[in-house]
């Protein structure tokens, strides 16, 4: 399975990406989670600590001023050397976080990540791997194609206008690129909520994830949802979403 999760801020992208990664790893798949969001998120949902800008050491600046991966470093070595291994054996590669001390992310790290994300889809060593991406909020990274490896873009929307309009924009961009994309309704409290998401976005809902107080609690505590409530409704629903995505191809 190769997917990237997108949507408005706060809809549950990291929760879905992190939990899906853990579940697929538990089922025996080799999983690489790719976090391109400059804000914290996926590491917490996976339950792993990761350096802010791991690829800073893997890039060089060319004469034209552009950063690229150092000679001899491709997706395989980047993942071997700079990804961290989390619970259930999930590997996590981060782009570049805005440092907690302020200022800009370490220069070059994000460009290095971008290069990995471009090349990893075609890398024979990753054939058979499950790749799960967590994109930054909004349509930017979909428009600029930060998830070339993804066979399907999973677009999340909760029953609010703002998240629905965002989902529309992302779905439109994905289709203009001829990339497969599905709409997933999140924080759903009733069947009417799921229908509402479909109406607001203007297309059928592929899957539904329930509102779950356990997730809010996990967020407050900074623990991975799958560790906080392993048998919870959302974890169960993400598991089913994973099955459906896996059989989509």
């Amino acid at each position: 399975m190769r997917v990237a999760v997108a949507g408005k801020g706060g809809v549950g992208k990291s929760t879905v990406a992190g939990t899906l990664a853990r579940l697929r790893a538990r089922a025996g798949e080799q999983v690489l989670a790719l976090d391109s969001d400059p804000m914290p998120g996926l590491a917490l949902s996976l339950g792993v600590e990761a350096p802010d800008a791991p690829l800073a050491a893997a890039v060089v600046r060319g004469e034209n001023g552009r950063w690229s991966l150092r000679p001899g470093i491709g997706p395989v070595r980047a993942v071997q050397r700079y990804a961290v291994v989390g619970p259930d054996g999930v590997r996590l590669l981060q782009a570049a976080k805005v440092p907690s001390t302020g200022g800009n992310p370490v220069p070059g790290a994000a460009q290095g990540f971008r290069e990995v994300s471009r090349r990893i889809g075609g890398a024979p060593a990753f054939r058979g791997w499950t790749l799960i991406g967590d994109l930054s909020a909004g349509p930017r990274q979909s428009a600029y194609d930060w998830a070339e490896y993804a066979e399907t873009i999973v677009v999340l929307a909760e029953p609010t206008w703002q998240s629905a309009l965002t989902a529309r924009r992302i779905l439109r961009i994905a289709r203009l690129r001829a990339t497969d994309a599905v709409l997933v309704a999140t924080k759903v409290r009733s069947p009417a909520d799921a229908e509402r998401v479909g109406e607001l976005v203007g297309e059928p809902v592929f899957a539904t994830l329930p509102a779950d107080a356990e997730i809010a609690q996990a967020d407050r505590e900074g623990t991975a949802p799958i560790d906080h409530a392993p048998a919870g409704a959302v974890v169960q629903a993400i598991s089913e979403l994973g099955e459906r995505l896996a059989s989509r191809r």
Partner: protein, 103 residues
């Protein structure tokens, strides 16, 4: 007074910015609301309407598409690209991402 609202997605930036703008306008101030998000939603919380917010023309795209002549002053930009929101708030959307970038 010039303020900007920031924070992680979903924490309430747009709600706070839009509601502050309306409240200040009701107090009699001239208010300019600038939506600088590449996923602009400020119109929703200002009360412009969700569907209409989705259709608002962003300054950057209109200029790129050559639909309008460039304005050389701030007043001109607000005048040509602004939208009237309730309570007399003037809303300007700076840019938006709505299609794949080939580059």
């Amino acid at each position: 007074m010039k303020i900007a609202v920031a924070g992680k997605g979903g924490v309430g930036k747009t709600t706070l910015a839009g509601t502050l703008a309306r409240a200040f306008a009701r107090d009699g101030r001239d208010v300019l609301a600038l939506d600088a998000d590449t996923n602009p939603m400020l119109g929703v919380s200002l009360g412009v309407g969700a569907e209409r917010t989705d259709l608002l023309v962003a300054v950057r795209q209109a200029l790129d598409d050559g639909e309008v002549e460039h304005q050389t002053t701030g007043e001109g930009l607000v005048d040509v690209f602004g939208t009237d929101a309730p309570d007399g708030v003037r809303l300007v959307v700076c840019t938006r991402i709505e299609r794949p970038n080939p580059g």
